[in-house]
């Protein structure tokens, strides 16, 4: 029965790594050692997901579900809008940003800000992050 649907369990296991573990994991490199980051907010956010190929599959499903959000700027705005500090939060170091996003995902679930992608109950924030991955 499960196999009839497009997204497999394995992809969602990877999603767990992409959207759960990645967001919570702390970088082993101290932030003062890192090279100044000149990438766009969309690229930075998408880069937080380690398993890009899986994220893209989920992201594509989300964008089919919410075609009105299928623009980088909308997705970045919507994601940043949910973070404490708004767009300013996107200038945080990677670990801090991951922690903020993980908190937001948890809050999404607590407040049922979820979306059903081919049956999977996914937080809006993680779905939008995957959407970014699909567009970048």
């Amino acid at each position: 029965m499960i196999e009839r649907h497009g997204l497999s369990r394995r992809q969602f296991l990877v999603l767990s790594a992409a959207c759960g573990a990645s967001l919570v994991a702390r970088s082993s490199i101290p932030s003062w050692l890192s090279i100044p980051d000149r990438s766009t907010p969309a690229e930075r956010l998408a880069r937080l997901l380690r398993h890009r190929s899986s994220a893209r599959v989920i992201g594509a499903a989300y964008l089919r579900h919410e075609p009105s959000e299928a623009r980088l700027t909308s997705l970045v705005e919507l994601i940043a809008g949910g973070l404490p500090g708004g767009a300013g939060a996107l200038r945080s170091a990677d670990d801090a940003l991951r922690a903020l996003l993980a908190g937001r995902v948890q809050q999404d679930f607590a407040e049922e800000r979820t979306v059903c992608l081919e049956g999977w109950i996914v937080s809006r924030t993680e779905a939008r992050l995957c959407g970014l991955a699909a567009l970048t």
């Binding site: 499960i2 979820t114 049956g119």
Partner: protein, 567 residues
């Protein structure tokens, strides 16, 4: 005492104070309550003291609604009734099961949980349930497994008990008590073909009995109880249509309607982030001598707020790799079946079991070096083992050692979980269109066979979906994993694995108003002064527990009511 009705003289009329139709959980409970009193009790049991195919065939019928079990397998017609293959899972009704909910049509009982409360304890003893404790908190202290670590404001973990296999059959546990009771005569092979009433239809005057070998006689009793099960009870009432074309007790066309089951199917899947997530509480396990089984459900406040029926979610982990293979191993099942088969002397089954066991014992050879006197794996397997991650190795080891070793390993150390199937079970909405009627075919005794039209409602479907969505949100919030809901919210077909819980309820439902129920709060058929019904056919709603304990509690309550009348 137990007698064979085939030896009762043809055409005789037996007088009794109380006539009980059916010797299953309900009938035996009432009979035993009367044992040793001065009341003359006759129990009419369709079957004998062992399974007989010709008798069982009397239960055959037609399914015209949702896919359902063949009706001749859904009930057993012999002493002890369906307890002879009962799964033994017990939980009493919750107080709210008796309440009426505005958004659930036809919900609510005319009695409350407090009316049954004092009968649950003797019912527990009758059924062989080990403990009278049903609260999670009591067991949480003693259980090595813990509930799923989700927040408790919307989800509940509930505990059911499982009666040990040797104590499940009422035939085994209560036969001696019936046999020893001098005032109770249990007549085997006695099929009730008709209930005759007085000309006003207000008094049940005669129970017409027939045996498959052609014997016929009648039983006249001051009080009568139908306790033949959720399909046979309405069948007997509907088939008693010689005097009343609509059948007995059916002036409001309610007999056979509101057929309820506990529909079950896999409604979703939970993929845990941690493959070692502890879900042992939700599997059959023991705490001391008590066998327990946990399951999840939405809290009453959440259901009330969202206007849902209760959906119980049980967790069934599918294990990684070979652990799953060993968990589903037919060979292991055969190995387990071999010992009881040997003990009980079922020689004819031994061949099949032996073959399977031999297969199982040799399955590990597939990865051993042929010719080595001791089990030594191929070098590649050793290499793979040494290079593999712990999870892979755990899945690889059982391949080397076979299903037996895998079982032992999983039991001792736990097995990595691939995903957890969420099997949902609905406290379904009472639906008048879900019903038992008489079909065109007749059985060898000339009684029309039944036609079952099982139906569910869109609220049932919506409740499953919403319950799983709430679980998905709570699981995501707790960072445990993600949930997939596998049932859509449209009125499409139900999942292919939809099945019942072998529970037949609602077909002679209880209500104070005769327009809404077949029996009153004392289980007396509306309009007939001396005819009562016992068993789950009187349940107006299916309830969130399992029916057996409540069937017995209600039967004991009915017995006390009848004692008052017969005194």
């Amino acid at each position: 005492m137990i007698v064979d009705s085939r030896s009762i003289p043809h055409g005789s009329r037996i007088e009794a104070d109380l006539c009980i139709v059916g010797a299953g959980a309900a009938g035996i409970s009432i009979a035993r309550r009367f044992a040793g009193t001065s009341t003359r009790v006759v129990v009419l049991e369709s079957g004998g003291e062992a399974f007989e195919a010709t008798t069982q065939d009397l239960s055959r019928g037609e399914n015209v609604g949702l896919p359902y079990f063949p009706l001749d397998t859904a009930r057993l017609r012999w002493l002890g009734g369906t307890t002879n293959h009962w799964g033994g899972i017990c939980r009493p009704m919750d107080p709210e099961d008796f309440e009426s909910k505005a958004w659930i049509p036809n919900s609510g009982w005319p009695i409350a949980e407090r009316d049954l409360e004092s009968y649950y304890e003797p019912a527990r003893v009758m059924c062989g349930v080990s403990s009278g404790d049903w609260g999670l908190e009591t067991w949480r202290q003693r259980d090595r497994f813990k509930p799923l670590p989700v927040r408790g404001d919307r989800l509940d973990t509930r505990i059911a008990q499982i009666v040990s296999p040797e104590a499940r059959s009422f035939r085994i546990t209560h036969r001696a008590g019936i046999q020893a009771a001098r005032n109770v005569v249990l007549q085997c092979h006695a099929n009730v073909t008709e209930i005759e009433t007085n000309s006003e239809g207000t008094l049940a005057t005669l129970f017409h009995v027939a045996t498959l070998d052609g014997n016929r006689y009648t039983v006249a009793a001051r009080q009568g109880v139908l306790a033949a099960g959720g399909i046979e009870n309405p069948r007997i009432l509907l088939a008693s249509n010689r005097q009343w074309h609509e059948g007995v007790g059916n002036r409001n066309d309610l007999v056979g309607r509101f057929f309820l089951e506990h529909p079950r199917f896999v409604g979703g899947v939970l993929v845990p982030f941690d493959r070692r997530l502890s879900v042992g509480l939700y599997d059959h396990h023991k705490v001391g001598a008590v066998r327990l089984l946990g399951y999840l459900g939405l809290k009453q406040a959440t259901r009330d707020q969202e206007q849902l029926v209760d959906v119980q979610m049980s967790l069934h982990p599918t294990l990684a790799g070979s652990f799953q293979r060993s968990a589903e191993s037919e060979d292991m099942k055969a190995l387990h079946a071999l010992v009881p088969a040997l003990r009980q002397g079922h020689i004819h089954q031994l061949g099949g079991h032996l073959a399977r066991v031999a297969e199982d014992l040799t399955s590990w050879q597939a990865l051993l070096i042929p010719g080595a006197p001791l089990p030594a794996p191929f070098p590649e397997v050793v290499g793979k083992l040494m290079r593999s991650t712990p999870f892979e190795a755990q899945a690889l080891i059982p391949d080397l050692m076979g299903d037996i070793a895998a079982r032992g390993y999983a039991k001792k150390f736990g097995a990595p979980i691939e995903s957890i199937l969420l099997r949902t079970r609905i406290n379904a909405v009472p639906n008048p269109d879900s019903r038992v009627t008489l079909g065109d075919d007749r059985d060898p005794l000339g009684i029309p066979r039944v036609r079952l039209d099982w139906r569910l409602t869109s609220l049932d479907r919506h409740s499953v979906r919403r319950s799983l969505e709430v679980l998905g949100s709570e699981v995501g919030r707790a960072g445990l994993g993600r949930v997939r809901v596998m049932l859509d919210d449209h009125d499409g077909p139900w999942p292919e694995d939809l099945a019942g819980g072998w529970h037949h309820m609602g077909t002679t439902r209880m209500a104070d108003d005769p327009r809404w129920g077949v029996v009153d709060r004392n289980c007396r058929v509306h309009g007939i002064r001396n005819l009562y019904i016992a068993g789950s056919s009187v349940f107006p709603t299916a309830g969130s527990g399992t029916p057996t304990l409540t069937i017995v509690a209600l039967a004991l309550r009915l017995a006390d009511h009848l004692k008052g009348l017969l005194a």
